[in-house]
Symmetry: C2
Subunit: 367 residues, 2 copies
């Protein structure tokens, strides 16, 4: 069963299609978009080895003239240097204004392919074919593209919306379990900030820590509901002026944990898990929501195989100091997205350092 | 006497202000724009030596916190490597989403500062303070930003409109005469494609080959009329889907001449001068306009000290072959912008290789 979700924007609206088996029909999916004949497929060697040939065969069968560019896997290659290589391939293949870039991979590939598309000939078209759960439910939707600066994540980039996001859930079969859990953190996030019904369906599942325990039906629900949430928020706030802030739920303390552990010990999804537990506990301290909701959130994060405690050895004061450098700080007060019930959040600066300290201390002690 | 021209766009309309002496009031001009406190001024060492200190003093007097980044002068530094240096300064100065980039320089500085602004934190605000005639009448207006790829000009870039274009004609006093003439080529272009009255006023001037022979009044007219033409075209066609093509008048053969002479022997303005003479002669061959109009155009280009003949040693067949690689080629036919009378042009693919060859041959023989 296919689902199609639309991202409605003043200019360049597009669809997110969730269609099992669609990767082998990629060419047919691209045909109605009115793209030129030339395409550049961007991927990484590992994903390309598994899915590249089939994708290219399907594109060529549909009449496209396809070249490809591979970037080594990993966040550390998400650099301007890799973009330069994409430009070189674009030039060698003589991509034109009518040409398009197709991203086949996780968020790293998607962010870079999108940035190359945003900046080649001042912007050519671009299609997302996300292969990781995180890219499917989050990174591929919304038009944020870019690379890291040696001293900071995602500092270089552009807003550039794709023409289509095509999700084939079948490729998740090969996704490493830890990457699956990273994506589940964002899925749970949508449940808490937006979709109480999704949250409940997740609660009813037996296991959520590995893709193979999740039924195709639940997987379809997870993808559809998550993409609907993200699409809705992006439609209301394309350039991150307001509503989009709720997507940062769990990310404020999450980012601090990620950066203090050098982006290695704890991955993004794990850090978001920890961040949501912390945000839930802060909300409880501030009487924004009740103990039962908070307990339900922690239980779900745990069921997804995500950590709910701070990693050992992390200094609480370092976390609090790092929060002060967050983009969300206004006049010295950290602004948090906090839940008021399952499915609803607010933005607030009520979380004092004393409250944050108390919550983090409890999350460390309990370890 | 100040002139203010508005560029009307669906989002982010802005003004082009032509105000003698305004550079020393830069801070006051920026104050109403609602920018954050932090600014990054981008320039080159030579322009910065002349005008940087005054600009920064004025900005600081208005309460801005200013850092600056200098890029060596010259088209060969219009690279991604230079942009990386701008990012480094942006990071060191901790530019935020509310911060802005101010470009103080010619088109090279403006294109690069604009691209850095377009891509830092996915786009921050940006002000153009053009100092060359070409940048004043052309490059600073319209939001095209970018850098060169080692194998092609302006292949990497983004559309990113400035919040203000502030033109102080007094800085033209130090512009080298050859650069002045390069700008005059674009001014004459506006006369031919858009503004017959501007064309006539230029015809009435005694000399146009050096800035010091042009009265402040005529200079004001030149700037105002040219910026009006560019602003109007950009307002109608922000992303180059249609009307904007008329700005390429003289540029089709111009680009071929520029690239075949290695961008050295002949500069952009000179190439555009040659290109307009060729386009005029082609239009005459096709009976699109009359001999008198054609003669008037050639005379005006000559009066501006610009070449009207092909440089010696250039192979006509190379020019014709280069035209085939032009972005404007559709189905093998080169599309030219050609004049029908002073002030009006059309786009056409009627110019056969035979006609082009005949015209170029005459422009070479006459040398
Ligand atoms: N643009 C946005 O809005 C947005 C949102 C969230 C995250 N991001 C970015 O996304 C990136 C993280 O994305 P990610 O989690 O997908 O990481 P990723 O792209 O590094 O992919 C994770 C790993 O999984 C592998 N992989 C992906 N799909 C696979 C499959 N089907 N089978 C086997 N292996 C597969 C990849 O090769 C990689 O090793 C970060 O750079 C982050 O900044 C962007
Ligand atoms: N973005 C656009 O729409 C657009 C349009 C046309 C051209 N361009 C770009 O603009 C560039 C050409 O611009 P340009 O002709 O200004 O070249 P430029 O920026 O190289 O400036 C020409 C020379 O004049 C010097 N100069 C500038 N102002 C001066 C002043 N007041 N006093 C003394 N010296 C001064 C500069 O240092 C430089 O050496 C090219 O890179 C071209 O691609 C962009
Ligand atoms: Zn996230
Ligand atoms: Zn030009």
């Amino acid at each position: 069963m296919n689902a199609v979700i639309s991202v409605d924007l003043p200019q360049n609206s597009y669809e997110v299609a969730i269609a099992p088996g669609s990767l082998s029909q990629l060419g047919a999916w691209l045909q109605p978009l009115g793209l030129g004949r030339k395409l550049m497929l961007v991927s990484n060697p590992m994903i390309f080895r598994r899915y590249g040939e089939g994708a290219i065969a399907s594109l060529e069968a549909a009449g496209f003239d396809v070249c490809h560019a591979l970037i080594p896997a990993g966040e550390r290659y998400k650099t301007l240097g890799s973009i330069q290589k994409l430009y070189d391939v674009a030039l060698a293949h003589r991509l034109e204004r009518s040409s398009a870039v197709v991203a086949l991979g996780g968020g790293v590939v998607g962010d870079m392919a999108g940035f190359a598309a945003a900046t080649w000939l001042r912007g050519i078209r671009f299609v997302q074919v996300p292969t990781s759960l995180l890219a499917m439910v989050d990174a591929s939707i919304g038009g944020k593209t870019g690379v890291n600066h040696p001293h900071g994540k995602n500092l270089i980039g552009a807003f550039h919306q794709p023409r289509l996001v095509l999700i084939d859930p079948e490729v998740l079969a090969t996704l490493p379990p830890r990457e699956f859990r990273a994506g589940m953190a964002e899925v749970i996030k949508y449940g808490v900030i937006w979709d109480a019904d999704l949250f409940q369906q997740l609660e009813q599942a037996k296991r959520l820590d590995q893709q193979r325990y999740v039924s195709p039906e639940l997987m379809q629900t997870i993808l559809t509901r998550s993409c609907q949430a993200k699409a809705h928020v992006v439609s209301k706030d394309e350039k991150e002026a307001g509503l989009r802030a709720i997507l940062n739920y769990g990310h404020t303390i999450g980012h601090a944990v990620e950066s203090l552990t050098g982006y290695k010990l704890v991955n993004h999804g794990e850090a978001v898990g920890i961040g949501m537990v912390a945000a839930g506990a802060i909300a409880l301290q501030l009487n924004l929501w009740d103990a039962d909701s908070n307990r339900r959130q922690t239980a779900l994060i745990q069921k997804a195989g995500l950590p709910t405690r701070l990693p050992a050895g992390l200094d609480l004061e370092d976390i609090i100091a790092t929060l002060q450098t967050d983009k969300k700080v206004k006049a010295g007060q950290v602004r948090f997205i906090l839940p008021t019930q399952i499915g609803t959040v607010i933005e607030t600066d009520q979380a004092t350092p004393a409250v944050i300290r108390k919550v983090l201390l409890a999350m460390a002690e309990a370890a």
